[in-house]
C-alpha cells in the first residue's frame, strides 16, 4: 500500500515550489524588503546562493541515508528520544505555519470579499477539503498539486509581466539599501524564506526514486529562488514606499494594478481564486507531512483518521491570533527565528552528526 503512495520527481518539485509560492503570497517578499530596503533584490541573490549551497550540502548529507527522512535519521543518531523531540518540533512547526498562513489568507479574504462572513466559516472552507483529501494519502495531493502548480506559476508570471509597464528600474537603488551590513550580514536572516527545506527533509521516503532527491531539491530551490527574486524586484520597481509601508498582501496590490486594455479590468478576483487553489495545496501538503511524522512517532492502526485531529489543531491555532498585526509580528519575529533554528541549524547539526556516526560505524 505504501508503495502506491510514492510520488514522482515532477510531483515532488511541484510540491516544494508550491510551498515557496505560498510564502510569496503570504507577504514574505515584503518582509525581505522591509529588512533591507532597495537592496532586497541583492539580498535575495545572496540568500538564494546560500540556499542552493545549503541544498547541495544536505543532499550530500542525505546520501548516507538514501531512504530516510530527518526523523528516521534522528532516531539513528539519538534513539527514540531524539526522534520524538525532532518529530514533535516539526509537527509543531508545520501546525504553526499552516495555522498562521490559513488565518492570514482567510482574514485577507474576509476583508476583500467576505466582509460579513464569520472568520470561522472561511477557515472551515479551507480545512474541510483538506481533511477529506489527506485521507487519500500524499500521492493524490501531490498529483493535484502538479496540476495546480503550473497554473499558479503562470499566474505569478502574468502578474509580473502585466505590471511591467509601471516599473521604474531606478527604484532598485541605492544599491546597498539600508546598508551593506543589512544586505549581506543581518540580511542573511532572510534565508528563512526558504522554509521549504523543512519539507525537503521529509521528502525522500515518499519518492519513487530516492536517487532523484538531489535533482528535485536543487531544481525546486532554484525555481523558488527565481520566483522570490522576480516578486521582490517587481514590488521594488513598482512601489517607491514599499520599504516603509506594511501591506496586507503586497502581491494583491500588484494585481489591482493589472488591466488589459479598457475591457479587462479588475482581474484581481482571478488571482485570488488561483491563490485559494494554491492554499488548498499548501494546507494539504503540510497536513500530509504532519500525518506522516505522526505515523512514525505513534503506533496507530489507521493513521489517516488523524487528519481530523490535525486539522482541528490547525483550526485552533488559526483562531489564536487576534488580528493581522499579531500575525505580522509573529511572522516577522518568532517564525523567522523558528525556521532558522529548526530548519537551518538543528536539522543540519543532526544530519552532520548522523553522518559522522555513520562514517565511524563504517570504519
Amino acid at each position: 500500500m505504501d508503495s502506491l503512495q510514492k510520488i514522482g520527481k515532477f510531483e515532488a518539485i511541484a510540491l516544494i515550489i508550491m510551498i515557496t509560492i505560498n510564502q510569496i503570497i503570504f507577504n514574505l517578499p515584503n518582509t525581505i524588503i522591509m529588512n533591507t530596503g532597495s537592496s532586497a533584490w541583492l539580498n535575495v541573490i545572496v540568500i538564494s546562493i546560500v540556499a542552493i549551497l545549503f541544498c547541495l550540502l544536505i543532499c550530500k548529507l542525505f546520501k548516507s541515508f538514501p531512504t530516510q527522512d530527518i526523523v528516521d535519521i534522528s532516531e539513528y543518531l539519538g534513539g527514540k528520544t531524539l526522534k520524538t523531540i525532532v518529530g514533535i518540533l516539526y509537527i509543531l512547526f508545520f501546525i504553526f505555519v499552516a495555522g498562521i498562513f490559513l488565518r492570514y489568507l482567510s482574514s485577507s479574504l474576509k476583508l476583500i470579499y467576505f466582509e460579513k462572513s464569520p472568520i470561522v466559516f472561511l477557515l472551515l472552507l479551507f480545512l474541510i477539503p483538506v481533511v477529506l483529501t489527506i485521507k487519500l494519502g500524499i500521492k493524490p495531493v501531490a498529483q493535484v498539486n502538479l496540476v495546480f502548480t503550473p497554473i499558479v506559476l503562470f499566474s505569478m508570471l502574468i502578474i509580473l509581466f502585466a505590471t511591467a509597464k509601471d516599473f521604474v528600474p531606478e527604484r532598485i537603488f541605492p544599491i546597498l539599501g539600508f546598508g551593506a551590513d543589512k544586505t549581506f550580514l543581518i540580511g542573511l536572516n532572510n534565508i528563512f524564506t526558504f522554509s521549504s527545506f523543512a519539507y525537503l527533509y521529509f521528502l525522500i521516503p515518499v519518492l519513487k526514486e530516492p536517487k532523484d532527491f538531489k535533482f528535485i531539491a536543487v531544481t525546486s530551490i532554484i525555481i523558488s529562488a527565481i520566483y522570490l527574486f522576480l516578486s521582490v524586484v517587481c514590488l521594488l520597481m513598482i512601489f517607491p514606499f514599499i520599504a516603509f509601508s506594511d501591506e496586507m498582501l503586497s502581491v494583491y496590490l500588484l494585481t489591482r494594478l493589472i488591466e488589459f486594455g479598457k475591457f479587462f479590468q479588475r482581474v484581481d478576483a482571478i488571482f485570488i481564486f488561483v491563490w485559494i487553489l494554491s492554499t488548498f495545496s499548501f494546507l494539504s501538503i503540510t497536513t500530509g507531512f504532519i500525518n506522516r511524522i505522526l505515523k512514525k512517532l505513534i503506533k496507530i492502526k489507521n493513521h489517516k483518521e488523524m487528519s481530523y485531529s490535525i486539522c482541528a489543531i490547525i483550526f485552533s491555532v488559526a483562531l489564536i491570533f487576534k488580528n493581522i498585526s499579531d500575525m505580522k509580528y509573529i511572522q516577522n519575529t518568532l517564525l523567522k527565528y523558528i525556521v532558522i533554528l529548526l530548519v537551518f541549524v538543528i536539522s543540519l547539526i543532526i544530519l552532520i552528526l548522523a553522518n559522522l556516526k555513520h562514517k565511524k560505524e563504517k570504519v
Binding site: L111, V168, F178, G179, P240, R256, R266
Partner: protein, 348 residues
C-alpha cells in the same frame, strides 16, 4: 467622486458636510435609497482650495479603500468640487463613468494634461525622487474664458489652463494643465503647453498637435503632428552638489498645415521648419523646467530617479535631500525634430 454606471441623465450629485470621507459616505447612505459603492469610481475631484491646504489625509484614506481602484484619476478642480460635478454635462457618451474615463484619456492625443491615477499620485507623494502632480480641471464658462490675443499666435493654443480656453460647447468640463504639488500641498498650476513639455520630458507623450512659428510669416502658425522618434535621454549630474539636468529629446512628425506659398517637399524649407520647431520646443521645455524648479520647487519630472544610483545607501540618499535640492537645478534642453514632410500634399 465621479463614477456611475447608470445613464448620465439619471445620475445625481449629492453633497454632504462631513469630518471624513467614510463618514460622508455613511451619511449619504442614510440619505439615499441605495448604498454608495466606489468600485466604479473613475475620478476623484478635489477642489484647488482644499489642495492648497494638503490632501495626504484624504489620499491615504482613498488608497486604503478596497472599493476604489488604483487606476481612478485624481483631478484638482479650479472651482469647487461640487460645482465641477454639477456643471459637467457628459456629451457623446450615454454613460457618465465612460464619459469621464474617455475624457481623461484625451491626454493621449492632445498632451495638454497627464492621465494621473490615484496610484501614481500616492506613489509620487511618498517618493523621495519625485513630487506629486494631478490633472487640472475646471468648468469652462464664458466668464472663465481668458483672452490671450496679446500673445503670438503660436503661443495661444497651449497658454490656457483648465476653464480658460475660449470654447463654446455643451460640455462645461475642461481638463487642461497639471496641478503641481510639493508633498501633499498644491503649489501651482501648469498650462496646456507646459503640460505637453512635461509629458515630453517624462516620456509619456503619445502624440500631440502643436503650433510652431511659420518661418515665412511670423504672424501665422504651422501645425505639426509630433511623436517621439526615440525615448528621451535625461542625464542628471551633480556639480558641486548642484543638479545639472540635460534633456535630449528626439521627435518625429508631419506638417498638418498647408500653405500655397510654402513648398514642403523642399529640404531647405523642411530644415528651416525643423529648426524653428526645435528652438520653439527647447524654449518652452526650458521654461517649464525652470518654472517647476525655481517657482514651484517641485520635481514632478522625477529627475531624482536619474541621480539616486549615485548613492550607495538609503541614508546617504536621504541626507542629500534631493527634493529640496531640486530648486537649485539648472537645465540644458536639446530637441531634435525630424519632419516627414506634409501629409497628402506637399505643395499647392
Amino acid at each position: 467622486m465621479v463614477g456611475d454606471s447608470s445613464q448620465s441623465k439619471e445620475s445625481t450629485v449629492t453633497t454632504v458636510d462631513c469630518s471624513s470621507i467614510d463618514n460622508g459616505i455613511g451619511l449619504v447612505n442614510s440619505y439615499i435609497s441605495k448604498k454608495v459603492n466606489l468600485s466604479h469610481c473613475k475620478a476623484i475631484v478635489i477642489s484647488e482650495e482644499l489642495a492648497y491646504e494638503g490632501i495626504s489625509e484624504y489620499i491615504y484614506t482613498l488608497v486604503n479603500n478596497l472599493e476604489i481602484r488604483p487606476n481612478c484619476n485624481i483631478i484638482i478642480s479650479r472651482c469647487k468640487a461640487s460645482d465641477y460635478l454639477e456643471n459637467s454635462q457628459p456629451t457623446l457618451e450615454s454613460v457618465s463613468a465612460r464619459y469621464y474615463e474617455f475624457t481623461l484619456n484625451s491626454s493621449e492625443y492632445t498632451g495638454f494634461t497627464e492621465n494621473v491615477t490615484l496610484s501614481d499620485f500616492y506613489s509620487d507623494m511618498l517618493s523621495t525622487t519625485s513630487q506629486a502632480h494631478a490633472i487640472l480641471g475646471g468648468i469652462n464658462t464664458d466668464s472663465t474664458h481668458q483672452d490671450h490675443s496679446d500673445l503670438p499666435p503660436y503661443d495661444t493654443q497651449g497658454s490656457y489652463k483648465a476653464d480658460e480656453t475660449p470654447i463654446k460647447s455643451e460640455t462645461g468640463l475642461e481638463n487642461m494643465g497639471i496641478a503641481v504639488f510639493n508633498n501633499d500641498k498644491l503649489v501651482g498650476e501648469l498650462t496646456g503647453m507646459e503640460s505637453l513639455c512635461h509629458l515630453l520630458v517624462v516620456d509619456k507623450l503619445e502624440s500631440a498637435t502643436i503650433g510652431v512659428p511659420n518661418p515665412y510669416d511670423t504672424n501665422s502658425v504651422i501645425s505639426l503632428y509630433i511623436t517621439y522618434a526615440k525615448k528621451p535621454k535625461i542625464s542628471v549630474k551633480l556639480i558641486n552638489g548642484t543638479p545639472y539636468i540635460e534633456c535630449n529629446i528626439k521627435l518625429t512628425g508631419s506638417i498638418l498645415s498647408l500653405d500655397e506659398n510654402v513648398n514642403y517637399s523642399d529640404s531647405y524649407t523642411l530644415n528651416l521648419i525643423e529648426d524653428y520647431t526645435n528652438s520653439y520646443l527647447q524654449q518652452n521645455i526650458a521654461s517649464y523646467l525652470y518654472k517647476t524648479s525655481k517657482k514651484y520647487k517641485s520635481d514632478i519630472g522625477n529627475f531624482g530617479r536619474h541621480v539616486i544610483n549615485n548613492y550607495s545607501t538609503w541614508n546617504d540618499w536621504i541626507e542629500s535631500d534631493w527634493l529640496d535640492n531640486y530648486k537649485n537645478a539648472f537645465f540644458t534642453v536639446k530637441v531634435d525634430t525630424t519632419l516627414q514632410s506634409s501629409q497628402l500634399y506637399t505643395k499647392l
